[in-house]
Symmetry: C2
Subunit: 348 residues, 2 copies
Amino acid sequence: MRDSKNGTRRPTIKDIARESGYSKTSVSFAFNNPSRISEKTRDQILKTADRLGYIPNPMARNFSLQRHLSIGFLLPQMVQYSLKNPYTLEVIAGIGGVCEKMGYTLTIIPPLHKSLALAVRNAAVDGLITLGSQIDSDIITVMQTRLLPFVMIDGPSDEKTSSIYIAEEEAAYTQMKIALDYGHRKIAIIGLASATFAIDEVSESVSAKRMQGYHRALREQGLDFTNVTTMVSECSLEDGRQAGRSILALPSLPTCVVTMSDIVAIGCITAFREAGISVPDQISVVGFDNIEEASTITPALTTIDQPATEKGRMGAKVLFSMIDGTEEEPVHHLIEHRLIVRDSLAPR
Amino acid sequence: MRDSKNGTRRPTIKDIARESGYSKTSVSFAFNNPSRISEKTRDQILKTADRLGYIPNPMARNFSLQRHLSIGFLLPQMVQYSLKNPYTLEVIAGIGGVCEKMGYTLTIIPPLHKSLALAVRNAAVDGLITLGSQIDSDIITVMQTRLLPFVMIDGPSDEKTSSIYIAEEEAAYTQMKIALDYGHRKIAIIGLASATFAIDEVSESVSAKRMQGYHRALREQGLDFTNVTTMVSECSLEDGRQAGRSILALPSLPTCVVTMSDIVAIGCITAFREAGISVPDQISVVGFDNIEEASTITPALTTIDQPATEKGRMGAKVLFSMIDGTEEEPVHHLIEHRLIVRDSLAPR
DNA sequence: TAGAGATAGTAAACCGGTTTTCATGAGGCG
DNA sequence: CGCCTCATGAAAACCGGTTTACTATCTCTA
């Protein structure tokens, strides 16, 4: 006897059938296919259902219909990092907007026992959107084995799976180039710490591609990575602040910090301000993402705009087209990026 | 015949049973109750499962076990607002952290066909967390009818349902009082637009309680609402910016803006900066929430700290204790708030 | 060596809906 | 009047797992 604390049990379709004197079938029709039964029958059933406080069990319904009415978003990292990164949040908002329109819920899927693959195995969703490069082949295998439609945003590129991406190398090149064009030669780069988790196909990771872009820009000036200081940071305000402090602790202060993430850039600026170092007078900072806060902070951030919400929206749209069977072939969407020049970068 | 595009079908437990020569029961035991069968049998079954690429169907599993392994977060408003409000996001992050620890996913539930109650009816979750005051009696009725455990954060107070809250009236009083103490008399209040949706028990809404606090502080100075300009704004940066522009358009500029939300305060400051109005020299701004950005913006925001992440964490903990049956009685957690004095408020 | 108990396996019920298939009766039409 | 069609309702299969209850065999002990 399946009952709740107070001894009551939710009425099932069977209870309504018995109580109203009709069959399970008719009760089901009363709710989902009114034209299939007479109006009088429908009224009686509905009245009975109302009297007993019947609400169809969503799980049973979904199980029978073989659908979840929810899509999943695979958190790239632990919750404490992922959900503190405005970029991720903007992507989620983009996905959420489409879900709302489609009448779906959005399931946020954290790693299960530290394992993303395990979380994907158990995820009760109709499709999955991933973000970032730490999607290894294990995870992809699970999704494919489950025949689960999925779209990768900023993921490792693969012809056979749908993806939403920007020209990472080109964007990073542009970002570094503007710093160099402004005369900076003593540069610190803050990369993405999470990228260190990417096991296979390292060269396909977002971090690696951007590094290639940086390298190209440096090379054009006759420089290479030996001329710059490189460090990594998690994508959160607090970690960015820490990174900023590390830079302040360097034997000699760089004139420009190039980060792979706005939130880290903002953290740096905060750290610099706390130390009484003026941005951009004493040190310039360049960000990446163009999150909303980039324009409200002082100084406003010079950064690369990649429309995060749009990425999420596009990813969700593609996923839904796969779910409803409209789209058969994997699609690849290149999202435009652009340089946003604001105040945090000043000439050397 | 249920099959995917390429004509394949996911193998079920039955297929593994047939293929391995054992029964469904044994296959189930092989995965969930190894001690129940011999090692040899288990090996053979597992090998077969592996060969066929069998992954237990999560929906069927959950249905059989009568649980979802997911809790829901009911979005107070449309996605475009809710997920653009850092306060909401911090609450979500708090909930998410607990979910991760418990091995649960977090289902973000937007209104379905504009209706929150309908969304709750269909939500495939083991419990629900609500945020804000627009939880009307319809929604509560649905949750109770479904025997769904739920916790309300910042919700309308009700003895019989679990809640997480702060002393709204007192906090608002403190917030207004500091503005008055600094000598401000020409004040604009920006309230919560969403509060207008709260149908019943209006006096219980967060917005109403805070207004009472404002009123008390004003009264102590011999003032009342006729002395202040009141307007409302959605909780997003952009709407806050709009509100700021409205204030600039006022016949005479107030000396201080008291907002019910940091993100709106930041939006205002942005609008003021765009108009060349200096904060706090020409106009002061006081916020509410103490979101992370409050400390990074220039000028740093004077605000009321209410630990959003902690609220989410606490709400989730309470909910899980209800789900696993530990907690029988409704619990009510009062979370501490405090005044944070920073730079956006200056003496008149 | 009979009986008890442990071990290993299976059949069938169950979770709560949806949907296919079938039965019955009424009405329409030639 | 006989046949066909349509309207209405119900029985039963199905979705894919888990779990209870039962059986058969093997082992140990008195």
